[in-house]
């Protein structure tokens, strides 16, 4: 499924080369529920960007569903993102001028899908996250929790192999956070592979497995003994 072998990522900042990832080996199987944790600057965001195919490693191999993505062009990476990855961001990242439905339809535009099929699928995805009565609302007419659910619907509409969430509850209050985490739990129960980036232990506690990143290395990788409800 996700297989990282000896991943190194360097950034050049002026004269300085920053080593963001210093050699990561990682395997995530289908339908795993993984939390990536670590302090800021640890390299967990870089790792997430690499898993999400937003970036390519400086060294090493990233095999996604049996396909080596390390050598793909930007164009090919865009296609991989569109088909295999569903992103959920901390600050939702919805398109402000478009309705919830249009936001969810957007990834399907790049699949060259017919408008009516896009509409059907997007409406279904919004129903699945419990927003069937908010299809024509714009992001600014929705609450934070509702926005994040639109974002989840958008991430899932293309039936990606990985749902990749970057601090999905970072901008939400605790009640809404637990709502959203409930949604992730349910998705996982339905067979979705979920990778979460978080720095909150109680969010990480929802997952089956916790991976701690520090100074560009995986320093801890263990299954969670008990899952919170």
């Amino acid at each position: 499924m996700i297989e990282l072998k000896g991943i190194v990522k360097r950034y050049v900042l002026g004269d300085e080369t920053v080593l963001a990832l210093a050699g990561i080996d990682l395997f995530v199987a289908r339908n795993e529920y993984v939390a990536l944790i670590g302090p800021s600057g640890s390299g967990k965001s870089t790792l997430m960007n690499l898993i999400g195919c937003l970036d390519s490693p400086s060294e090493g191999q990233y095999i996604l569903n049996g396909r080596d993505t390390s050598a793909l062009s930007e164009q090919e990476l865009a296609v991989v993102r569109n088909r295999e990855i569903g992103f959920v961001f901390q600050s939702f990242h919805l398109l402000p001028r478009q309705s919830a439905l249009q936001n969810v339809m957007q990834p399907l535009v790049y699949r060259r899908m017919s408008p009516s099929e896009r509409r059907d699928r997007a409406a279904q995805a919004l129903r699945n996250v419990g927003l069937s009565d908010r299809l024509d609302h714009r992001p600014n007419q929705l609450s934070g929790g509702q926005r994040q659910r639109v974002a989840v619907a958008r991430a899932l509409v293309g039936e990606p192999s990985i749902l990749l969430a970057d601090e999905p509850t970072g901008n939400l209050d605790s009640r809404t956070s637990s709502e959203i985490m409930g949604l992730f739990d349910a998705l996982h129960a339905l067979g979705q592979t979920v990778v979460l980036v978080t720095h909150e232990p109680d969010i990480a506690a929802h997952c089956q497995r916790t991976i701690r990143v520090f100074d560009g290395l995986i320093v801890e990788d263990h299954p969670n003994p008990a899952r919170a409800a």
């Binding site: 960007n49 999400g52 937003l54 970036d55 930007e74 164009q75 865009a78 296609v79 993102r81 569109n82 088909r83 992103f87 961001f89 990242h93 919805l94 398109l95 402000p96 001028r97 478009q98 957007q106 990834p107 535009v109 790049y110 699949r111 060259r112 017919s114 958008r154 293309g158």
Partner: protein, 406 residues
């Protein structure tokens, strides 16, 4: 195929989101196009009306006239056509159908019931009707019998009729032209003005009468218009005419022609080439304003790309390729510019009509369809050209950086 439709609606939506800004951005294009269309419409209307007024003179009509340069006028040795030249045209040259000599006869003022006017008085034969394409609205034109019998009859232009306050139907009235009485037999159709000169302030009298009244033709001048039987032979007839007239005028070999043979439509062609040049120059100058408009579009599009950096990042995360982003922004620029162009075309047409109607006696404005299509196409092209830089900038954004952009 879908790609363009998608990008098109996305571009429209984003222009619509900033309606005032979009409008202001495209104002340069709008004004530029408007100016082009207004200028072209006025000039074309003018040019069309000139062409129409001359269209009666077919391309099979040639005109023989004496040629004089400044030296001739300075020394007073003015070349004139002679009646031998007319006869040569009539009898010695094959391929000529009709010959219509026109003798300008400065006979003096024309009087009617105490009013006086000074129209152009031209001696002509019945052939002038066909060759010059003049027609009467009332009465008749000059006939062969008028010519043969040297009848004192006149066919008058509408200006003469109006200025002398003659009856609506002036046939049968008598005019005093110079010292001779003429009976009016016909009223010419109104022809309007060219360059502010009325074409209706004229009187035709029989050629033979004009000839006898002017006596010596020192002060009068003559031109001969003639039609060619076969249009395809115009050039041969022109050559034959040149040879024969040189012989008639006893010009020695090597001596320059003291006459010229003009095609009747050469004036129209000359005029059209002048208006075409004027149109091109003005359109070119105005085209610069389109470039300025294009730069305005580029500027705002660059701002817009910066503003929408995060949006572009989101789209890229969702799977938009460079090409998707490029097409969307290019279309946005093209659409912006095209909309300005279309509004400009409409306003330009209105402005052209306004200008044409404000100037008295000015022909109505007219814009050929291809000019409008070209204007629309050009404005869209300006958008594409000046959209390239912003669109490439947008397409080249790094998704991670773009997502982080605040």
């Amino acid at each position: 195929m879908n790609v363009f439709a998608e990008a098109f609606s996305a571009a429209l939506a984003s222009l619509n989101a900033h309606r005032l800004r979009s409008f202001l951005t495209t104002l340069g294009i709008l004004i530029g196009t408007m100016a082009v269309i207004a200028v072209v419409s006025v000039l074309q209307g003018f040019s069309d009306s000139i062409s129409n007024q001359f269209s009666d003179l077919g391309s099979n009509t040639l005109t023989l006239a004496a040629k004089n340069d400044q030296d001739n006028f300075r020394t007073g040795q003015i070349n004139r056509l002679t009646f031998e030249d007319v006869d040569a045209l009539r009898y010695k040259i094959s391929g000529i159908e009709r010959v219509a000599p026109i003798l300008r006869a400065p006979l003096g003022a024309t009087l009617y019931k105490g009013r006086a006017v000074a129209p152009q008085i031209q001696g002509a034969t019945e052939e002038a009707q066909d060759v010059l394409g003049v027609d009467t609205s009332i009465g008749r034109f000059l006939t062969a019998s008028d010519e043969k019998n040297s009848r004192r009859v006149a066919v008058i232009g509408t200006d003469v009729n109006d200025q002398l306050r003659m009856p609506r139907d002036p046939v049968g009235e008598f005019l005093l032209i110079g010292r001779e009485w003429f009976r009016v037999v016909g009223l010419l159709e109104k022809r309007g003005e060219i360059f502010g000169f009325s074409q209706d302030n004229r009187i035709f009298i029989p050629f033979s009468v004009a000839r006898s009244l002017t006596g010596t033709f020192e002060r009068s001048s003559m031109e001969v218009s003639f039609t060619v039987t076969n249009l395809t032979e115009v050039n041969q007839v022109r050559e034959r005419t040149e040879r024969t007239i040189r012989a008639t005028r006893k010009l020695l070999p090597g001596k320059a022609n003291d006459f010229e043979i003009k095609a009747a439509d050469s004036f129209v062609r000359q005029f059209n080439s002048i208006t075409a040049t004027a149109t091109a120059v003005l359109a070119g100058i105005v085209g610069i304003s389109l470039l300025v408009g294009g730069i305005g579009i580029m500027n705002i599009m660059l701002v817009s790309v910066t503003e929408r950096t995060r949006e572009i990042g989101i789209l890229k995360a969702l799977g938009a390729t460079r090409r998707d982003i490029l097409i969307q922004f290019l279309l946005e620029a093209a659409l912006l510019s095209l909309l300005g162009g279309l509004i400009g075309i409409v306003l330009g047409l209105l402005a052209g009509m306004g200008i044409a109607s404000l100037i008295p006696n000015f022909p109505p404005a007219h814009v050929p369809i291809w000019v409008m299509i070209a204007a629309a196409g050009f404005s869209a092209m300006v958008g594409v050209v000046f959209g390239i830089a912003p669109a490439s900038k947008a397409a080249a954004l790094d998704p991670i950086e773009a997502l982080r952009y605040e």
